[in-house]
């Protein structure tokens, strides 16, 4: 009995001494909130399902880390299929809410995760804030990241936050270095104020029938500006997104017409690009779009200064390849040495656990 007591005392003493040695993980998220974990999170709930591919930049098996996700803003179907084929455990990920800004606090708490990852876009929504407070009061840490609202400013800090919280700091740093190298090549050359910046109109979720949803500040505006263009709709659209008339577009006479699309546009007869889309299908849908009444008569379209891009570049750090594509489109002489396809291929090869084939952009006259 005294021996047992002595052993217990030794164990407790060792634990007491060892406790300060076990380093806590502390990060400051994008809202300036302190988030602390006792050890790297290996059971995560994602506020946005499509952030699984962001975790894929950091981990060989991102699915193993995800216990639940919100169905709103999920991965597109072809990407889901590719990940499911590689990681069948994906079917075990539990939904924790769906719809607009909907999150079930009860569902999250029931999963007992180490971490809930929310997006900056969730901030300030009363329902989301209430759910977050309930989840935090149950002892589950919540972190805010952003790859969407201000992608240039927040993507790498967000990736580093996730890297720190999931024990993949080295991988996050490696991607950050890759990203910065590619980005600085563009920003340094565009530093010359004498460079003419083309006036660009971005037609979001483009289809021949619906003209014209577009973007104001943030997201694609950041991409266009960084690539050396000027987003003309920023002057007339007060928020992140809005709609302008076809008449406005014709009157504005942009130098470049840029359309975004995805597999979600197939049902609407719009621009089809992205995961699982072959080049022929993408070209055909772009050709149909450019033949639409009103759009076909734009000088930018008539003169071949039109391009289509995958819409879902708007929520992944892989947008660096899109910025290269745009820079090459806007300033072909200045960026003749850029190879956005090679950049995407390198991201696939060096960072992502699953390679998803697809067509990510298309140019007029191709």
């Amino acid at each position: 009995m005294p021996q047992l007591r002595r052993s217990a005392t030794l164990v407790l003493t060792f634990c007491a001494l060892a406790a300060p040695l076990r380093a806590e993980i502390a990060v400051t998220d994008l809202l300036g909130r302190q988030v602390t974990l006792s050890e790297p999170a290996d059971r995560i709930v994602l506020g946005e399902g499509r952030h699984l591919t962001v975790l894929g930049l950091l981990h060989e098996d991102p699915v193993a880390l995800v216990a639940g996700w919100r169905l709103d803003k999920a991965l597109d179907e072809p990407t889901q299929q590719a990940y499911r084929a590689r990681f069948p455990a994906m079917d075990a990920i539990r939904p924790v809410g769906s719809g607009n800004r909907d999150l079930s606090a009860e569902s999250v708490i029931a999963l007992q995760p180490d971490l809930l990852v929310l997006s900056l876009m969730d901030r300030g929504d009363p329902g989301m804030d209430r759910a977050r407070d309930q989840i935090e009061s149950a002892g589950i840490p919540v972190v805010y990241v952003d790859f969407f609202a201000h992608p240039l400013e927040n993507s790498i800090p967000s990736l580093k936050i996730l890297g720190a919280l999931t024990g993949a700091q080295d991988k996050a740093d490696e991607f950050a270095e890759f990203y910065d190298t590619h980005l600085s090549r563009i920003t340094e050359r565009l530093a010359d104020p004498s460079i003419q910046r083309p006036r660009v109109f971005l037609h979001a979720h483009a289809s021949p029938q619906g003209c014209c949803p577009t973007v104001g500040s943030g997201v694609f505006d950041d991409f266009i500006t960084t690539a050396g263009g000027t987003n003309i709709a920023a002057e007339v659209v007060p928020g992140v997104q809005g709609t302008v008339s076809l008449e406005y577009l014709i009157g504005a006479d942009p130098d470049v017409y840029l359309a975004t699309g995805g597999t979600h546009m197939a049902g609407r007869g719009g621009l089809v690009l992205g995961s699982g889309v072959d080049a022929e299908q993408a070209r055909a849908s772009f050709k149909t779009l450019l033949a639409a009444p009103g759009l076909s008569s734009l000088p930018a379209v008539e003169q071949g200064r039109a391009s289509g891009i995958w819409h879902l570049f708007n929520d992944t750090p892989a947008h660096i390849a899109l910025i290269e594509h745009l820079a090459l489109s806007f300033h072909p002489e200045l960026f003749a040495d850029l190879d956005p396809e090679a950049t995407l291929a390198q991201i696939d090869r060096q960072f992502l656990p699953v390679s998803v084939p697809g067509t990510w952009w298309v140019r007029a006259g191709e």
Partner: protein, 346 residues
């Protein structure tokens, strides 16, 4: 003496109708020139006639694109939708013997709205959206008919209550669709569509609207003298040999087709069918033989002017539903006030 007065009155009403038609034509020509790019009416006429009469100054691709490709389908759609809604409203007001009734009362708008939002959610394009809105608009009418049949098919109050019930039901379904729609992709499309707009007008949509609207409008105009008799009351109408129940359902079906077609191509545009018939009644009196065509002409002009405001005020279009409500509510309040004053004076 009475005959002379009657002939004089009918001549005056005919002159008013011709004047309304001329005003509508003038507004239409002006509308083709109004917007982000202003084009004078004379130049608009030359652009329109350029395929047959080459103007001295050649038409630029920009001018052709703006006037013919973008604005012309939109102007035609606004005229058709406005005329259809006002005609439907005037017919329903006569049918229900109640000037506070509008096309929304039969539940058709809510049904069509649900069809459209469901189509957007499911990713159905163009024809699919129009078809779904149209189908659910008419199914709302069928539900109203079934509801009324169970209770009392001949009771007008039951019809109105059935319309309220069906509207509430489809309104809840619209909310459910909005709740489940993706907030970055589908939801903005649904919200903008529900608020009503002619921004997506093209030749195909004009044909889709005109297809059901023109024959149904012709049907209502052909029945306008019967609406006069119906508005006297069911007993008088029966005494004059009218099949009241059958005629009522025929009129409801025709108005439902018009409203469904309009909602299908341009979303919900409120107040036109309620306010415009009142204005027309002030100009030409309560005789449906003149009131119906007057309402149609006035409705076309009204909605065309509202659409001109919608597309000229800012680069980002103001949805029609918002503008018609902002303009329609004070107008309706003034009309009610004037009606009340007239009653008190009388």
């Amino acid at each position: 003496m009475t005959v002379v007065l009657s002939v004089a009155a009918s001549r005056r009403e005919t002159r008013v109708l011709w004047a309304m038609a001329a005003v509508l034509a003038a507004i239409a020509i002006a509308s083709l020139g109004v917007g982000r790019i202003d084009i004078p009416p004379g130049r608009v006429m030359r652009i329109l006639l350029s395929p047959w009469l080459a103007p001295a100054e050649p038409v630029t691709p920009l001018e052709w694109s703006v006037v013919v490709v973008v604005r012309l389908p939109r102007v035609v759609m606004a005229v058709l939708a406005g005329a259809g809604l006002a005609l439907a409203g005037a017919s329903l007001q006569g049918l229900f013997r109640n000037p506070l009734v509008g096309p929304q009362v039969v539940g058709v708008s809510s049904g069509a709205a649900f069809g459209g939002t469901l189509a957007i959610l499911l990713g159905w394009q163009h024809l699919g959206l129009v078809g779904a809105a149209f189908a659910f608009g008419l199914s709302a009418l069928v539900l109203v008919w079934l509801f009324a049949s169970v209770v009392s098919r001949s009771n007008i109050l039951v019809l109105v209550l059935a319309g309220v019930v069906v509207s509430g039901f489809f309104g809840a379904l619209v909310s459910l669709v909005q709740f489940t729609a993706d907030s970055h992709d589908k939801l903005p499309v649904i919200v903008f569509w529900l608020l009503g707009s002619f921004a997506t007008a093209d030749v195909d949509k004009v044909m889709l609207l005109a297809g059901p609207l023109l024959p149904c409008a012709a049907g209502l105009l052909a029945l306008r003298w019967r609406i006069n008799i119906l508005s006297m009351g069911d007993e008088d109408a029966r005494a004059l040999g009218l099949p009241v129940a059958g005629l009522r359902w025929l009129l409801l079906a025709l108005t439902a087709m018009i409203v469904s077609a309009q909602v299908a191509v341009s979303g919900i545009v409120g107040w036109v069918g309620l306010v415009v018939p009142h204005l027309a009644r002030m100009l030409v009196g309560p005789d449906h033989r003149v009131l119906l065509p007057a309402s149609a002409l006035l409705g076309g002009s009204f909605l065309l002017l509202v659409d001109d405001v919608a597309r000229s005020m800012s680069a980002s279009e103001i949805p029609l539903g918002i503008l018609t409500a902002l303009i329609g509510t004070p107008m309706f309040a003034v009309l009610l006030w004037r009606t009340r004053e007239r009653r008190m004076d009388g």
